[in-house]
Symmetry: none
Subunit: 211 residues, 4 copies
DNA sequence: AATGAATGAGAATTCATTCAT
DNA sequence: TATGAATGAATTCTCATTCAT
C-alpha cells in the first residue's frame, strides 16, 4: 500500500527531492496546464531545475513520463467504499463523508486527471484510466443506495441516476475550480452539505416514476 | 460581427466563403480532438481539402482561427430563459425542457467547448467564454427557482446548489459522452427524466438546513 | 535507356539543376565520403545550397534519400552482356572491351557503390544491391568463357575462377583509386591490357587441374 | 569471470589490462560493422561488459581507441616475404603458400581493415595504413616474379600486373566474404588453387606485348 | 485566388565526455 | 578503480508562415 520504501528517504519526509521526482512533478504540473505537447522537455527541465538531457537518463522518452504519471490513478474503489460504511440512520453523514472523500481524491489526482482529460484523444490508453474515476464513484455509491433500497429504507427508484447527479456535482465543481479557475473563493464544504441535502430529499421521496 | 451571410455559393464570393467555413469546420473538429497544437495547419488543410497556404489567405494566422471559433459561444442566456417559461404547476415539464435545451446547447457547441476546456491554460481568454456556459445555465435556473420560492411554491433553500447539481449532471454527461466516449449507448432522455424527478423531490422537501 | 525525359529540361542539358537533384547529388557525394551518419542533413543542405528543411519537403526522411540513390544500381547485366558480343577470334578485344565497360560502370556508380560498402552492415538491403554488381560481372563473363569452352576454343577449366580474377582486378583497382585515393596517377588503360594478356594466357593454357 | 587466457590476471594490474583488451575487442568488432560513428561508446561498453565511463579511464577519447586499433596493421612485409622462399621449380607451391598467407593475414586483420575502408575519408591517417597491406603484397610478389624473370625462368612481362591480379583476387574474396557476407559457403582453398593455376599459365606465356 | 517551394524557430533525442563519489 | 549522474553540442525532423508565381 505504501510506496515510500522504493527509495529510502534520507531526510524526514521526501525532503531530499530526487531528480526523478522533480522531473515527474514538473512534467505533471506542465502537462496539466499546457497539455502533453505544450509541456516541452525544455520547459520541464527548466521547471525541474535540471538539464534537458537529464530527463532522458531517467525516462526512456517523453511518453514514458506520462505513463509513469498515469500509474497514480489506480485503486480508488477500495478507498471510496471505505467512506460508505455505516447504517441508514447515518445517511447524511455517510453522504457527506463520501462527497468530501471523492472530491479530495479528485484534487489529489488533480494534475493527472486534467492531463487525461486534455489528452483523451491523443493517448487512447488515457481514456479508460480517466473515466474509471467518476465511473467507479457512481457505481460504488449506487450499490450502497440500492442496498438501502433492498433493506426497505429507501423507496425504489433509480439509485444510479441519483448517484450520478451527486458525483457529477463534485466533478463539475472540481473542474470549475481546478481547470477553469472559476470561483477561486468557491466554498466546497457548503456545496457538500447542500448537495447532500438535496440528494437526501430527492431519493427519499422518489416514487418509482420511471419505466 | 454578424456571420449571417452563410449563403449558397453563387460565384467566386460564395465559394470563398465556403472554403472559409470548411477550414473552420476542420479546425474545430481537429482542435476538439487533438488540442490547439495537435491540430496542425497541415492536418487542418487536409481535412478541409484545401492547400495548406490557403488557410493563411483566410486567416491571419492559426490563432485567428481559434478566435473565430470562439465567437460561436455567445448569447445563450436568452435561449436558456426561453426554456423556463411556465407556471409552477408545470415544474416538471419546465425542468425537463430546460435539461433538454441545455444539453442540446452543449452538444451544438461541442467542439468549441472541448477546445476551451483543453486550451484553458494556454489561451486565457478562453476561460471566461467556456465557463460562461454552465455559469449562465446555473444562474438562469437558480433565478427561476428562487422566483418560485418567493411565490411560496417552494420551500426556502439553496436554490443555487440545486441548480448547480442539475446543470452539473448534464455537463458531466456531455463530457462523458463527447470527450471520453464513455457509454456510447448512453440514454440521455432517461437521464433527463431521472434527474428531473430527483431534483423536484430534492427541492420540494428542502428545509432551510444551513446558514 | 535515356532518363532525361523524366523532367523536361528547359535548357540544353540538365542546366536547370532541380533542387531535388542537387540534394541527391550532395547526399551521394557526402555519404560516399563520410558514410550515412557522417552525411548529416545539415552538411547535405549546405553542399546542395538549400535550407536544411527543404530536404524534408523533397524526401520523407533521410533514409528515403538513400533509397532513392540505391535505385541507380539496377540493371547492369544487359549492359555487361553487350560488351561480350563477338567471336573467339576477337577474344582479346572482347576482354578489353569488357574490362573497360565494367570499370566504367563501377566509376559511374562510384558514390552509390561506396555507400553500399560503407553501410553494408547498417542497411541490410544494401548488401544485395552492392554485391550484385561484381557478382553479375563474374557470372556474365564466366558464361561467355564456358561458351567458348563448349565450342572447343578453350580448354576445359574453371572459367569462373578466371572470370573472378579478372573482375576482382578491376574491382580492387576501382577501390584503390576511388576509396583510398591510392595511385591518383594510376593508369587504368595499362591495367586493362596487362590483365587481359595475363588472363588470355592463363585460360588458354589451362589444363583441367582442379578436382 | 575469468578471461585469464588472454593475459593471466594476477592482481589488479592484469585485470585492468584485460578490461582494456575487452574494450578494444568490442570497439574493433563494432566499428568494423557499424563504422566509427555507429560504434557508440554506449554500445562498446555494453559489448565489453564495462561501464561506459570506464572506457575513458583507459582511453583519452574515442579517437584514441581507433588509433590503438590501427597499430595492429604494421609489419607485414617480412611475413609476406617469408612465404616466398623457394626455387622456381616450386613456383606453384610458392604461389599457393603466398595466396594462403596473404588471405590469412587479411582475415586476421579483418576488423581493422574494414574499419580502415569504412573510415577512409573521415580519418585520413587511415588511408596509408589500409592501402599499405595490399600494396606491400603486390610489391613483394612482384619483386619475386621479376627475380625469376631476371633469372630467365619467366618471360619478360609486366610482373606487377600479374601480382596485382593475384592479390586483387584475394582481396575481393576477402571483402565479399567478410564485408558483404557474400557466399558464406565460399571455398577459399579452391580459389587459391584456381587462381594459382591461371596466374602460372598467364605469366609463363606472357610475351612482352606492351611498351 | 490558389498553390508549390522555401525557411527560421524549435521539438525530441543521442552522443561523447566530465564530475563527484 | 570504477561508476552513476549530469551535460553541451549536435542530429533528425515538424510546424507555422512567407514568397514568388
Amino acid at each position: 500500500m505504501d510506496h515510500s520504501d522504493i527509495e529510502p528517504s534520507h531526510g524526514g519526509r521526501g525532503e531530499e527531492q530526487e531528480t526523478r521526482e522533480r522531473i515527474l512533478a514538473a512534467a505533471s504540473q506542465l502537462m496539466a496546464k499546457k497539455g502533453y505537447k505544450g509541456a516541452t522537455t525544455r520547459k520541464i527541465s527548466q521547471l525541474a531545475g535540471v538539464n534537458e538531457v537529464t530527463i532522458f537518463r531517467h525516462f526512456k522518452n517523453k511518453e514514458a513520463i506520462l505513463e509513469e504519471l498515469l500509474k497514480g490513478i489506480l485503486d480508488i474503489r477500495q478507498q471510496l467504499e471505505n467512506h460508505l460504511h455505516g447504517e441508514f440512520s447515518e445517511l447524511k453523514e455517510i453522504l457527506l463523508r463520501y462527497a468530501r472523500g471523492y472530491y479530495t481524491m479528485l484534487v489529489e489526482r488533480k494534475e493527472v486527471l486534467l492531463i487525461c482529460m486534455i489528452e483523451a484523444d491523443n493517448h487512447p490508453e488515457v481514456i479508460k484510466l480517466f473515466s474509471s474515476v467518476p465511473m467507479t464513484a457512481v457505481e460504488v455509491l449506487c450499490n450502497k443506495l440500492q442496498e438501502f433500497q433492498d433493506q426497505g429504507h429507501l423507496p425504489k427508484g433509480d439509485a444510479c441516476a441519483a448517484a450520478l447527479m451527486f458525483v457529477s456535482t463534485f466533478f463539475y465543481a472540481f473542474m470549475a475550480k481546478h481547470r477553469v479557475n472559476l470561483n477561486p473563493e468557491f466554498q466546497e464544504e457548503q456545496l457538500f452539505e447542500d448537495a447532500t441535502n438535496i440528494l437526501m430529499h430527492g431519493i427519499t421521496g422518489i416514487t418509482n416514476s420511471h419505466r
